[in-house]
């Protein structure tokens, strides 16, 4: 019996190298990943005469290097890697390279390969391996070509690392390939390479000098804004925002920055906060050498704010998914001009010589002491300030656009008219049709303008009412109440019994004060910011609370409200303010109608019916009903039967119902004799 083994033709080696990694950038990056996985800090990629065939690529790193055994068993072993995904390197890096097949592709890119390496365990010895691919071309099988590893004393004592030179490139590399290589290098590199522990690849290429600079400077030059803030040993902070040219756009001192703390000092170690903010759209990147897609990919990898304590990066701050400054949350709440972890990259460098900040025992971050909370506050204050000044700029820009818009429109109309003039003989109806269109457009614009004005008026009325309500309930109403009580007591001391014609006016003042207090509370309650948030709103709960709040006022008007609510807890996605504005406006209208009515028992009924994903709210009173206008006219802004009324209430009711995807119908004389409103609202559950 004789033994046999598989043998591989040298053609297989050639095809493996070419087909696995067809482009030069993908091949070279595999060598760079090897350097990364060997815990190198520096990795230089030299491209010489790369645009033409015959050039060379050299990759030089200061990683762990290889012993003779490692060259033999790992470097030259194809298809098996000592690295497995998920494991970490000696320095704790995530493994980037794979099976070693990519390496073969790189090595096959040239005619000769020279590997010189000094291992971490014996840096004084240099192992050298030379590969001449021409030797393989003339051989039958791969194992028929002997490779020699020589060992000699190294001139670079005590410095481990590997240099791989691929010379005699079989083809030239295109600019696109070198650009792709530069992008891939940026995704492997720590964005802040002033950290000595980080992986810092550099590209050296005279032919593609701009791409070499890109790897050096990364995409920071493409940032639209750079926030630079610092807090000193005394807890005094300052900040500035510079643009992409480095010109200072905005500056602020400590008092301006520390608005939330009324200018008090930050109690934290000195720190510097840098944040680069990118505007990721095609328009902004039109004149840049990078495109926004590649910057977006880079930010996806590194976006967020990293934290360095005495030059050492502290995890998990700024890791993927760690938004420790709540940037994304703030952006969600107030999207305009706020950076997120997907559109910005930053770092906070803390110099903590007194060891004020302490790590958690499980090393999962810094203990949330007052100093750390203040440090976060400093960073968040800087972000808030930047958002604020950027918003001001955006508002000024909008104002300018508002001023320019009518001029541009008028110019466009003139252009169309001139064009029509030219074809008026062949198309006589065109001029008339355009004039009709113009009139319709002007009507539409006027309606919109009036609507905007309506809501501005309404907002101003609301703000003024809230201010007065606050002032009234804080001072005058309180004092009137106490004064009336004092007067009543003192009269009782003088006259016993107190005559009814004295008691009654005093009672009336008290009930009026209660009514005014209820209105003040309701007005202030309406402007509560929380109520305007879109959320799950339980309609029955809101209805009950409104009626409860209005109770003293309703009592003063001798008006009874009957709630006839369906079983269950119907809810929809809306805001409490939206539901309140519907019900309160209807309630106010009913009270006016009841005032004008001669009915002896003033009555309002609010009922709900739930049916198949819909909720019907029935609102009826026994007032005078809708008499002066048709049921269609009442929704128009300004339509009111009450002298001095704004005529806005029902317009708001209709607009709000429409916004909620519902429908409203008015019955001039409903089942109680007065007006009745039937509202259909889609609900999520109930």
């Amino acid at each position: 019996m004789s033994k046999a083994t598989f043998r591989f033709s040298t053609d297989i080696l050639k095809r493996l190298g070419e087909e696995l990694n067809p482009s030069l950038d993908q091949s070279v990056i595999e060598l760079v990943k090897n350097a990364h996985d060997a815990d190198a800090n520096s990795c230089q990629i030299r491209l010489k005469n790369i645009a033409k065939s015959g050039g060379s690529i050299t990759v030089i790193d200061d990683g762990d290097g290889m012993t003779v055994e490692e060259i033999r068993n790992h470097f030259l072993m194809l298809g098996r890697s000592p690295k497995s995904s998920g494991t970490l390197t000696r320095c704790g890096r995530k493994i980037a390279g794979s099976k070693g097949l990519g390496r073969l592709a790189a090595l096959r890119a040239g005619n000769q390969v020279t590997v010189r390496t000094r291992s971490r365990t014996s840096p004084a010895l240099e192992n050298e391996l030379q590969i001449d691919w021409a030797d393989f071309d003339g051989a039958d099988a791969v194992d028929a070509v002997p490779l020699e590893i020589t060992t000699s004393s190294s001139s670079m004592r005590e410095v481990s690392g590997t240099t791989i030179e691929i010379s005699g490139l079989t083809r030239g590399a295109s600019r696109r390939e070198v650009h792709q290589l530069a992008r891939a290098l940026l995704l492997l590199a720590d964005p802040f390479d002033d950290n000595q522990e980080s992986f810092r690849p550099t590209l050296d290429s005279k032919e593609f000098d701009d791409l070499a600079k890109l790897v050096q400077n990364k995409y920071f030059d493409d940032a639209e804004y750079h926030l630079i803030a610092n807090v000193d040993e005394e807890g005094i902070a300052s900040a500035q925002v510079v643009d992409w040219r480095g010109e200072v756009l905005f500056k602020v001192d400590h008092v301006g920055l520390r608005r939330s703390g009324q200018g008090s000092r930050y109690v934290c170690p000195p720190a510097e906060f840098d944040l680069w903010v990118f505007i990721l759209n095609a328009e902004t990147f039109r004149t840049r050498s990078s495109n926004f897609g590649e910057v977006r990919t880079w930010l996806r990898e590194f976006g967020g704010v990293m934290l360095y304590l005495n030059d050492i990066r502290v995890s998990p701050y700024g890791d993927a998914g760690n938004d420790w400054l709540d940037m994304n949350l703030h952006r969600t709440r107030n999207p305009e001009e706020r950076p997120s972890t997907n559109t910005s990259l930053g770092r906070i460098r803390i110099t903590d010589e007194q060891t004020v900040l302490r790590m958690k025992t499980d090393r999962s971050g810094i203990i949330e002491s007052q100093a750390f909370i203040d440090l976060k506050r400093f960073a968040q204050d800087a972000l808030d300030w930047m958002a604020h000044v950027r918003l001001q700029v955006a508002e000024a820009r909008r104002q300018k656009q508002r001023e320019k818009a009518p001029i541009q429109t008028s110019k466009s109309i003139q252009n169309v008219k001139q064009a029509i003039e030219k074809v008026s003989e062949t198309e006589p109806g065109l001029k008339q049709t355009f004039e009709q269109y113009e009139r319709a457009r002007e009507n539409e614009e006027r309606t919109l303008r009036e609507e905007v004005q309506l809501y501005r008026t309404l907002s101003t009325a609301g703000i003024t009412a809230a201010t007065f309500a606050h002032e009234a309930s804080g001072g005058p109403l309180k004092i009137i109440g106490r004064a009336v009580s004092a007067v009543r007591r003192r009269i009782a001391d003088l006259i016993d019994p107190v005559p009814d014609d004295v008691i009654e006016p005093l009672k009336r003042i008290n009930s009026s004060v209660s009514s005014l207090s209820a209105f003040s509370d309701t007005t202030l309650g309406l402007v509560d910011r929380d109520k305007r948030r879109a959320e799950r709103v339980e309609v029955h709960f809101v209805l009950r609370r409104i009626i409860e709040t209005y109770r003293p006022f309703l009592k003063a008007r001798d008006t009874a409200v009957y709630l006839n609510l369906a079983e269950g807890v119907p809810y929809l996605r809306s805001s409490v303010a939206a539901i309140e504005s519907i019900i309160i406006n209807l309630l106010t209208n009913s009270l006016v109608a009841l005032m004008q009515s001669t009915t002896s028992e003033r009555r309002i009924e609010v009922g709900t019916i739930i049916e198949a994903g819909t909720m019907e709210i029935l609102f009826a009173d026994n007032g005078t009903g809708i008499t002066d206008f048709s049921a269609n006219e009442i929704w128009l802004p300004g339509v009111t039967s009450r002298s001095g009324g704004s005529g806005l209430g029902l317009t708001i009711v209709r607009d709000t119902i429409t916004d909620l995807g519902g429908d409203i119908e008015a019955v001039p004389e409903g089942r109680l004799g007065g007006a009745e409103f039937r509202m259909l609202l889609p609900i999520i559950g109930g």
């Binding site: 004092i479 207090s517 402007v527």
Partner: protein
């Protein structure tokens, strides 16, 4: 003529009044005068809580205090903080507030030490004052009313919008969520707050309305 009210262990003859409106202080004075009690009007500017507390203790046996004290240059602290400090020292104190808008955000974390909160129209008569002081004295002597008695309860964080976060306490109210402030938490508890975070706290589950509901994160604190 000044008389003396015996309320529990407390002898009340003079009541201090803290309010940034002089007219409002005067109007409380009418009620105190009709109750035959003396009034010590505390005039601003008030420099600090300890100083004001000392003044109240040395000049009066009880305190009526408005919550907002900073509309004018009167005080840089809230009435809730002064009242809670006085209660902790054993003085009968009543907080007056309209309880509108965001008042409750300032007050909730201190409510544990504020037995009596009255709206302006609830403290116009001597009888109302007597009742309020009696309830306050009862609680100080350990007779905590059912609506203020605390029970162990589960709390769930529902929403975070810094500087606030909303929680629900299902054993108290299913429909209403309670807004709390990060600033009122210790750093250790604040670091744990995230949506869906659940923990056990102590809360007055008998509270009738959300503006009287309070949460104690750590009973020993």
């Amino acid at each position: 003529m000044i008389c003396m009210w015996n309320i529990g262990q407390h002898m009340i003859s003079t009541v201090a009044v803290v309010d940034d409106e002089a007219a409002s202080r005067e109007s409380i004075g009418w009620m105190l005068s009709d109750a035959d009690l003396g009034m010590r009007e505390i005039k601003g500017p008030l420099t600090s809580i300890p100083n004001t507390q000392s003044q109240v203790f040395s000049e009066a046996n009880a305190l009526i205090c408005d919550h907002y004290l900073s509309h004018k240059n009167y005080a840089q602290f809230t009435g809730a903080r002064l009242v809670s400090a006085c209660i902790k020292s054993g003085l009968l104190a009543i907080l007056c507030t309209r309880f509108g808008g965001s008042d409750i955000d300032d007050i909730r974390s201190l409510l544990r030490y504020i037995p009596i909160v009255r709206r302006p129209n609830e403290l116009n008569e001597p009888d109302e004052l007597h009742e309020a002081l009696t309830l306050c004295a009862d609680e100080l002597s350990g007779n905590v009313p059912p609506e203020r008695k605390v029970w162990r309860a589960q709390l769930v964080v529902e929403r975070i919008e810094k500087p606030y976060f909303n929680v629900s306490v299902p054993s108290w109210q299913l429909e209403e969520s309670i807004r709390l402030r990060f600033d009122d938490l210790t750093p250790e508890i604040a670091s744990k707050i995230e949506i869906e975070y659940r923990t056990h706290v102590w809360a007055n589950l008998g509270a009738q309305t959300s503006d009287r509901f309070f949460i104690i994160w750590n009973l020993d604190a």
